[in-house]
């Protein structure tokens, strides 16, 4: 059956004579218009393609096409060691790299049975880094909201503030994104000297900056008209579609894994789970801004612990069969193994050299079995399903990325609405295509 038989007469727009086309379409009674949006459209957050069927300006059908950024990370990891896997997962959801790393490492640690032996200082550093990352990720979400709705100031503000966080990441890990900082058993390197002061400065600046953002957007009539009662998705819809994160909390359910199923000692930090019950784009924005403010509280508490009771503690598991043999240090040629360690393995201990070589090239073995570890990423529940066959490489790693699942809600939030609201609906889902396609 041809498309003409099922769909009626079809007019393609593909470089022909416009006058002729306009004449033909004017004669036709049909008003249905199929518009292809993306994959290279600035408002689709990376390479997302939407196929919209329009009746006038109303969207009657929205179809999402993904896969343009599929890189086979999960397959690639099956050919690397467990530690090398961190370098791959960090590239999935590239706006929230620390969360990917942490979820993966928590799953590997559960398989190894060492969850309780990860040093407290490493846990506090992970928490602090994740919350910093949450702020930077939400800032991009809000910045792009603004830009896509036609306002450039929130975009400039958002990216300016995000730069502060990325500078901190660069100072601590050596990289602004894709840091591979969290490793099975701890973190790759301790906080450098001066990091606590720098984060302290950031904590002083940031509340004011968030307030500025709120002043700009919270009661802005243009912004609220474009976001209030737009892309409505209630709690029932969220549950059925598996939506988690700010979208779910904007539907009124205070479900946050940091509170409900705490990990890495989140139960010892004081913070609230912000919710809204408007189920719309504006509610999701408010939840995200409030979450940034809560994240600042957690960072402050973590920083107090890191500079107080946990000062000088180890950041990698004591077990020499798992923990990376060397601490990284900044040398004249960049970040690498510390000169002391090099002197030790090359100059004084053959056994240390063998141990280093074996652990770095061969890696450690992980007992056979499967584990699922999840963290509350900026976009919702980020789960890592990790299977081991007892070898030095992962047998299978699957990431349950919240962007992937949340993006399924797009037809439910767009169909029946205006085409202009599709943009704010996509922005409020805040999908990161690196995480969707992996």
């Amino acid at each position: 059956m041809s498309a003409t038989e099922t769909e009626g007469r079809i007019y393609d727009v593909a470089g022909q004579d416009w006058d002729e086309l306009v004449q033909n379409v004017t004669d036709s009674a049909e008003e249905r218009l199929v518009v292809n949006m993306g994959p290279q459209h600035p408002s689709t957050h990376g390479v997302l393609r939407l196929v919209l069927t329009l009746d006038g300006e109303t969207v009657t059908e929205a179809r999402t096409v993904i896969g343009y950024l599929h890189t086979g990370i999960e397959k690639n990891m099956e050919f690397r060691t467990w530690t090398q896997g961190v370098t791959f997962v960090t590239r999935m959801d590239y706006l929230a790299p620390i969360f990917n790393e942490t979820a993966y490492c928590m799953a590997v640690e559960r398989l190894l049975g060492i969850t309780d032996r990860v040093p407290e200082r490493a846990q506090a550093i992970r928490v602090m880094m994740m919350e910093l990352n949450r702020i930077s990720s939400h800032l991009v979400a809000i910045a792009t909201y603004g830009l896509e709705l036609g306002a450039t100031t929130p975009m400039l503000f958002g990216f300016r503030e995000r730069e502060l966080v990325l500078d901190l990441f660069e100072y601590i890990t050596g990289l602004r994104m894709n840091m591979a900082y969290v490793r099975p058993g701890g973190v790759s390197v301790d906080l450098p000297a001066g990091a606590v002061d720098k984060i302290g400065e950031f904590l002083k600046i940031m509340p004011g900056r968030i307030k500025e953002m709120r002043k700009l957007l919270d009661a802005n009539p243009v912004y609220t008209r474009r976001t209030k009662d737009v892309a409505y998705l209630d709690l029932t819809g969220c549950m059925a579609l598996g939506i988690t994160g700010p979208m779910l909390r904007a539907a009124g359910l205070p479900w946050d894994l940091r509170k409900s199923q705490p990990y890495l000692g989140y139960e010892t930090y004081e913070f609230d789970v912000p919710t809204q019950n408007t189920c719309d784009v504006y509610g999701r924005y408010l939840v995200r801004v409030a979450e940034m403010e809560e994240s600042l509280k957690i960072i402050e508490q973590a920083l107090d612990r890191l500079s107080g009771p946990l000062k000088g503690g180890p950041v990698m598991i004591e077990d020499k069969k798992i923990g990376w043999p060397a601490q990284l240090a900044l040398g004249p040629d960049g970040l690498g193994n510390s000169p002391d360690h090099i002197a030790h393995i090359m100059g004084s201990s053959m056994e240390a050299l063998i141990h280093h070589f074996k652990l770095v090239t061969e890696g450690f073995r992980v007992p056979a079995g499967q584990a699922y570890a999840s963290v509350e990423s900026p976009r919702g529940e980020l789960g890592a399903h990790v299977v081991s066959d007892g070898g030095t490489r992962p047998y299978r790693v699957h990431f349950r990325d919240p962007s992937f699942t949340n993006l399924q809600a797009l037809p439910a939030t767009c169909e029946g609405g205006m085409i202009a609201d599709v943009i704010s609906a996509v922005a409020s889902i805040d999908p990161v295509m690196g995480g969707v396609d992996r």
């Binding site: 993904i66 896969g67 599929h70 086979g72 999960e74 397959k75 690639n76 099956e78 050919f79 690397r80 559960r110 398989l111 049975g113 549950m239 059925a240 579609l241 598996g242 939506i243 988690t244 359910l253 479900w255 409900s260 199923q261 061969e362 890696g363 073995r365 056979a368 079995g369 499967q370 584990a371 699922y372 999840s374 529940e381 789960g383 399903h385 299977v387 066959d389 007892g390 070898g391 030095t392 490489r393 047998y395 299978r396 699957h398 349950r400 992937f404 699942t405 993006l407 399924q408 396609d437 992996r438």
Partner: protein, 221 residues
């Protein structure tokens, strides 16, 4: 060689023979005769501990015969169910007031080429918000008949997840509203996450030495 004094050999299928690639007369180490058998499929017995017993109690009266085995490992519980009754089990897990697993975290596939007769596994992670619990449900199907019933009617979120698992593993979810590829191009051949699908890649020259493609590098497991 007499085998009288040797312990009884396990029945499990052979996973691997030999080591270090030595064979025949060149093998002075004896490693060539090594026979590694796969460990038996794990199965836990009651009490499972934690909340797992309560979940099993609520499941057993209704769909107990669909559960093939239960595995409690590293603080997580896995119910292996027969694929024919999968949708029924999931519906029960969702609707029973004592279970209430409202939130599904999707489908993950795993390919075990050595498990003859149940090579492909579909793994479901479920979360109960009411009781704050998690379970894992696993259904297996043979490579020769890669069919598992679709559960989109129970958990609509499985729509994309089942498409992804079909795309990567070739598991056909019967009854899915539109089971097409989702990540790979529509005309792609093969299912890339299966173990028999090569990773690909080319050797790279670096400072005079050649680094082989990742799937041709030395493996230690």
């Amino acid at each position: 060689m007499s085998t009288e004094n040797l312990p009884g050999l396990p029945e499990e299928p052979v996973a691997r023979r030999g080591m270090f690639g030595v064979k025949d007369t060149g093998d002075t180490s004896g490693y060539g005769r090594l026979v590694v058998r796969r460990p038996p499929k794990p199965s836990s017995v009651r009490p499972y501990g934690s909340y797992f017993d309560e979940v099993a109690d609520a499941l057993e009266p209704a769909v107990g015969d669909a559960i093939e085995r239960v595995v409690v490992d590293r603080g997580e519980v896995t119910f292996h169910v027969s694929r024919e009754r999968l949708a029924e089990v999931l519906r029960h897990l969702r609707d029973d007031p004592a279970l209430r697993f409202e939130l599904s975290l999707g489908v993950s596939g795993v390919h075990y080429p050595d498990e003859t007769g149940s090579e492909l596994h579909a793994v479901y992670h479920l979360c109960s918000i009411t009781h704050n619990r998690r379970v894992r449900v696993e259904a297996a199907c043979p490579d020769a008949d890669p069919h598992v019933p679709s559960t989109v009617s129970v958990y609509p979120t499985h729509d994309w997840h089942e498409r992804e698992t079909y795309d990567f593993f070739g598991i056909v979810f019967d009854g899915h509203p539109a089971l097409t590829r989702i990540e790979m191009p529509d005309d792609w051949e093969g299912h890339p996450q299966r173990k028999d699908y090569p990773l690909g890649g080319i050797p790279v020259e670096y400072r005079g030495a050649e680094v082989p493609a990742p799937d041709n590098r030395r493996s230690y497991s």
